[in-house]
């Protein structure tokens, strides 16, 4: 009876330190948690909050030689892991606790077959060899849903897709038959439809093997769908722990609440999203108060001087906040002080299409042999037509590899299209070249996905923003341009003093603001945003979305918003176009497409998005397999091999535009 009650894993006051001396960072500072057998425990938080470090400290895999556990105990059953010798830890790792990492592309050894990599674990922990091991490998591959396991076991990682690789990682993790599986952002690098497959697989395996899962994620939707219990981490500490239902119905800590409020959503379309001002404090200091106090809307002066203790807040719930302390006299929460304002009403300028793309094609030739003759083409974009009216936003949605970004670059002539026409303000861009094109470039701008790599690290940000103006001849002299740069910085929420700094001195959100300022500097009419928030945390994403929306309202900008995040689409876009393998399969007003999707692919995509409403009763449409290669697309409708509603005629020809007026759908279901 005693062993039944004992938790599987118990962390007591674990602290981790990286580095030595004054600059030492404490990414984990006194974390205590317990995980029961067979439960899914979600550790949630923004980047840099110490989630991964907590996981690594359990397995004693902290980066060496800088990282070490400075205090606390890690109990696995009745074994104390921090006291074990390194050789004994090997008996634990992979056998009793396994881990899967975020990036499946780099977690597998590229020169060994996947079968060998699984067999290695079997040999290490179960002394299985030869036939027995080979059979077990096939069993495991079957268990993680890899079709044609016998053939796949002999393949190398580069022959598999991202989703397959993550399944292999799970198979390796399962090979040791662990009691606990630590999954560190297991689906962040994957597309939503693949993410749904992997999450479903994890749930199925958990039911079969009764192992516990520690799920580390930043996605509230995944937590809602998977977790039994949730812990929120902020700046190295747990700030709230609760059962899933309590957490989603009644989150206590102001930080948890802000996370919910900052999620973009169709219902928040007309208002600004809640944001958390400031940034996560650096963890090399001693804290004398609540770590969230500076950014907290519910705090008062007491919070800055007193470290909050861990207070129970009802059954199954505890939080680290003074507001939960029954012994304290608490002032009322002041009205919104963080300056969030609702958006000004949007003035739609004169109607007419700013951008009119017809039948855009971008094909990349594949060269082979000594003479590098063309043996085939990658049909990255294969006949895309879209229109963007002035002052409105079109969202282009699709999985990675479907050609979204190439459409954007093809429109801007950063990649020259193979065929088709791009009419911008009644000028045919595909016909422009050299100086003529260079002069028009100020009208359309691009905001890149990764704010870290889109600025030259060796230029000051003021110079970066000014460069485009100088190239386009905006402003008569340097002084005028400088004044405009200062003004732009104010406009995007930075201060003019920031211009004299280098990109690395800014956080991700600030950098994306600078990128926006850079695009605005040349007074564009159209801005193509290529996943501008996918590298950012939720609260920072809200800031950027607010900024983009405000700029559209005041400047009348048009956006082509390339994304895979459907909640952002519902918040920001007017119309949405869904892309699959180089072609648009459905297009229409955002409300109609998201609420009443027509194309089977759109339906599958929408159903695969994790929803924070638990038990919303929706059925996940599971898509078989992966995106086919764009160099040899399937005959007929590109989607038919994965389509649950495929008909014989789908394999014959590519469907024309069907569907209601203003809402074209390329599917034979509507012919």
């Amino acid at each position: 009876m005693e062993t039944m009650k004992q938790p599987l894993l118990r962390l007591e006051n674990v602290s981790v330190q990286l580095g030595h001396g004054d600059n030492a960072i404490r990414p984990v500072d006194g974390v205590s948690l317990t995980i029961q057998r067979g439960e899914t425990f979600a550790l949630l938080g923004e980047s840099g909050c110490g989630k991964s470090m907590t996981a690594l400290s359990i397995l004693r895999l902290l980066p060496q030689p800088v990282g070490r556990i400075t205090a606390g105990n890690v109990w696995l059953g009745d074994e104390e892991l921090t006291a074990l010798a390194e050789s004994d830890m090997r008996r634990i790792r992979g056998r009793r606790i396994s881990m899967i990492f975020q990036e499946p592309m780099t977690s597998l050894n590229p020169v060994l077959t996947v079968g060998d990599q699984i067999a290695e674990v079997l040999k290490q922990h179960h002394r299985m060899k030869g036939r027995v091991a080979a059979d077990r490998v096939l069993e495991l591959l079957d268990a993680v849903g890899i079709p044609d396991a016998r053939r796949r076991a002999g393949e190398y990682p580069h022959q598999l897709s991202g989703g397959m690789k993550q399944r292999i990682m799970i198979a390796i993790a399962l090979a040791g038959e662990p009691d606990l599986l630590i999954a560190d952002e297991p689906t962040t690098a994957l597309d939503v439809t693949i993410q749904a497959q992997v999450l479903e697989l994890l749930q199925k395996l958990q039911q079969e093997t009764r192992m516990a899962i520690m799920l580390i994620t930043h996605d509230l939707g995944i937590v809602a769908g998977m977790a039994d219990r949730v812990a929120i981490m902020y700046a190295g500490q747990l700030v709230e722990e609760a059962s899933r239902d309590r957490f989603f119905s009644n989150a206590q800590h102001p930080y948890s609440r802000k996370l919910f409020e900052s999620l973009p959503d169709v219902r928040k379309r007309d208002q600004a999203l809640a944001t958390i001002p400031g940034t996560v404090p650096s963890l090399n200091q001693e804290f004398s108060g609540c770590r969230f106090a500076e950014r907290c809307a519910a705090g008062w002066d007491y919070c800055a001087t007193h470290v909050p203790a861990w207070h129970a807040a009802g059954e199954d719930q505890a939080t680290r906040c003074h507001r939960a302390d029954p012994a304290l006299d608490k002032p009322a929460i002041s009205a919104r002080v963080d300056g969030d304002k609702d958006h000004a009403a949007r003035q739609l300028p004169a109607s007419g299409n700013l951008l009119d793309v017809t039948d855009l094609k971008v094909h990349f030739p594949i060269h082979k042999g000594v003479f590098r003759h063309v043996t085939g083409h990658v049909f990255a974009v294969d006949g895309v037509s879209l229109q963007i009216p002035r002052g409105s936003t079109l969202a282009l949605v699709g999985e990675s590899g479907c050609g979204k970004t190439t459409v954007g670059k093809g429109i801007l002539q950063l990649i020259r299209p193979t065929a088709g026409s791009v009419r911008f303000d009644d000028i045919e861009l595909t016909q422009l070249a050299g100086e003529a094109l260079r002069k028009r470039r100020s009208d359309f701008q691009f905001i890149f996905q990764d704010p870290y790599s889109s600025m030259n690290p060796r230029m000051m940000v003021g110079d970066i923003v000014e460069e485009g103006m100088a190239a386009q001849g905006i402003g008569n002299n340097k002084i005028e341009r400088r004044a405009r740069v200062d003004q732009l910085f104010e406009q995007v929420g930075l201060s003019a003093e920031h211009t004299q700094r280098y990109p690395h001195e800014f956080s991700g959100g600030q950098r994306q603001r600078i990128c926006i300022a850079r695009a605005l500097a040349v007074d564009p009419q159209l801005v193509i945003c290529d996943e501008p928030t996918s590298a950012l945390d939720v609260s920072v994403q809200a800031q950027i979305l607010n900024l983009l929306k405000e700029l559209q309202n005041t400047l009348g900008l048009s956006y082509l918003f390339i994304t895979h995040n459907l909640s952002v689409v519902s918040y920001l876009a007017d119309r949405v176009a869904v892309m699959y393998l180089g072609r648009i399969v459905e297009e229409g007003p955002v409300a109609r497409v998201l609420e009443d999707p027509q194309h089977p692919y759109t339906r599958a995509l929408l159903s695969a998005v994790p929803d924070i409403e638990p038990d919303s009763g929706r059925e996940v449409i599971r898509l078989a397999g992966d995106l086919p290669s764009p160099s040899s697309p399937p005959t007929g409708c590109h989607f038919h091999p994965r389509c649950p509603q495929a008909m014989p005629q789908c394999a014959q020809a590519y469907p024309d535009n069907f569907g209601a007026p203003g809402h074209p759908v390329r599917c034979f279901l509507y012919s």
Partner: protein
């Protein structure tokens, strides 16, 4: 009046020095350039090797200030004739080292020649014995000190002087640093001695004191002995080794100066423009790489030799003649060695042209030349720097090998390669004359070791892959 002589290589050396000085001032205002250099000088090994390298550079620079002295008894109508000997400031500084020539070989610290000679005595008898040296050890005969005691006394005196100067420098440095940090000199002194400063001053001072010891030893001992012996024609080997520093440094740096424009321009343009330009550049360096370098160097040096021999009127002095040969050696070495860097830069630019900040610049309509100079060049400079520093020691060694083969610098020029070449015969003698080879080895070893240690530190500080830790 003396007549200054500016050799081709001198001009280039001072151009290079000017470039370095300008770069230092430019870098001071740019934190992203300054930061990695500060990281370099925070390492103790790097700081010590930098001091050693600077000492070599100082000797090289002093040896590059050339002039000719007027001849005694000038001709009529005010015309001044100049000596054909081209001297350098360094020659003047070391004074007796240059002029105290013996007849032939003598061992380090010897007072007599290495070979027996017939000596005619006052009474007309002849004996074969080791004749005393013309310059070394003369003072021993006047006073009656024993040689070993004399050497010991002079060494101790040098040690004392070096320590005294070192202490003086320590005191001055802590005074300056203390004033800058607005603290007391005592505090700063303790910080330096306990190595608590950001820049490892204690290491730097220790290295400097060691170098000073060598300087004082040279002053006290080399003026009265041949500390490293003399060579076949009686020249002081220590002097020859010091004079060779300039040759070694020139080969290492001027070659780089020649190759950099090729490598940077061709590499970046090939990677950025791609297409047929890339093909042409690739063909050029693949072809150049397939020709054996020694063959190419031998062919061009031999051709140059013929040219010089046929046009004696172009060169006023032998120094000018050997100088032009050195310059051509640098050029031809540069032409054969730019391919490696060019290939690296091509690869890096291929990668960078796809970087988002370059794409952003293109989408602003920024001109190509500007993209190359503002965006690509600054982001490949770390590769250039690492390659240059790493190549330096290789080139110094290459000079030795080429001179040994006979296609290196002019035989009349002082160089370690020539010293080693000469040692071929010396090593075959019985008893062996070992000091030329040893001195060339010692000097080359010190320079190359310091350069390698320094380049390691530079690579660690600039390479983004090693910076993570």
């Amino acid at each position: 009046m003396i007549m200054p002589v500016i050799l081709w290589t001198d001009a280039l050396v001072f151009l290079l020095t000017l470039v370095v000085v300008v770069f230092v001032f430019y870098a001071r205002s740019k934190p992203h350039i300054r930061a990695p250099w500060q990281r370099v000088f925070r390492g103790r090994v790097a700081a010590a090797s930098a001091v050693v390298l600077l000492a070599f550079v100082l000797v090289g620079l002093l040896d590059s200030l050339h002039f000719r002295l007027p001849l005694e008894g000038n001709g009529h109508n005010g015309e001044i004739h100049y000596s054909v000997d081209v001297l350098s400031v360094f020659d003047v500084l070391v004074g007796p080292l240059r002029s105290q020539e013996e007849k032939t070989y003598s061992a380090p610290f010897a007072t007599h020649l290495f070979a027996k000679e017939s000596v005619e005595h006052a009474d007309g008898s002849k004996t074969r014995e080791f004749p005393p040296l013309a310059h070394a050890g003369r003072h021993l005969q006047k006073s009656s000190t024993v040689k070993h005691v004399d050497i010991l006394q002079r060494s101790l005196a040098s040690l004392f002087e070096a320590l005294l100067t070192g202490a003086l420098m320590l005191w001055l440095l802590s005074g300056v640093l203390a004033r800058r940090a607005a603290r007391s000199t005592r505090d700063m002194l303790r910080e330096i001695l306990l190595q608590r400063t950001v820049i490892p001053w204690r290491t730097i001072l220790a290295t400097l004191t060691l170098l000073l010891l060598l300087v004082f030893l040279s002053i006290n001992l080399a003026s009265v002995y041949h500390v490293l012996g003399t060579d076949k024609v009686g020249q002081d080997v220590y002097y020859l080794s010091l004079k060779s520093i300039r040759t070694g440094l020139l080969i290492g740096t001027l070659t780089t100066l020649v190759m950099l424009p090729f490598a940077i321009f061709m590499g970046i343009v090939a990677g950025y423009a791609r297409g047929w330009i890339d093909d042409v550049v690739q063909y050029i360096y693949t072809t150049l790489n397939s020709i054996p370098h020694v063959l190419l160097i031998a062919a061009s040096i031999l051709m140059l030799q013929v040219y010089i021999a046929n046009h004696p009127e172009l060169f006023e002095t032998t120094v000018e003649r050997s100088d032009i040969r050195l310059l051509f050696l640098c050029i031809i070495l540069g032409i054969t060695s730019w391919t490696g860097l060019c290939r690296l830069l091509r690869g890096e630019s291929l990668k960078l042209r796809e970087a988002e900040y370059i794409q952003a610049a293109v989408s602003f309509g920024v001109a190509h030349t500007r993209i190359i100079t503002r965006h690509i060049l600054p982001n490949v400079m770390h590769i250039v720097l690492i390659t240059v520093v790493l190549d330096f020691s290789g080139l110094v060694l290459a000079e030795a090998v080429l001179s040994y083969v006979g296609v290196g610098v002019d035989p009349t020029m002082n160089s370690w390669g020539n010293m080693i070449n000469g040692a071929r015969l010396e090593m075959a003698r019985e008893p062996v004359v070992w000091w030329s080879l040893l001195s060339a080895f010692l000097f080359m070893f010190t320079l190359v070791l310091a350069a390698n240690l320094f380049s390691d530190a530079v690579r660690d500080a600039f390479d983004p892959r090693t910076r993570e830790r």
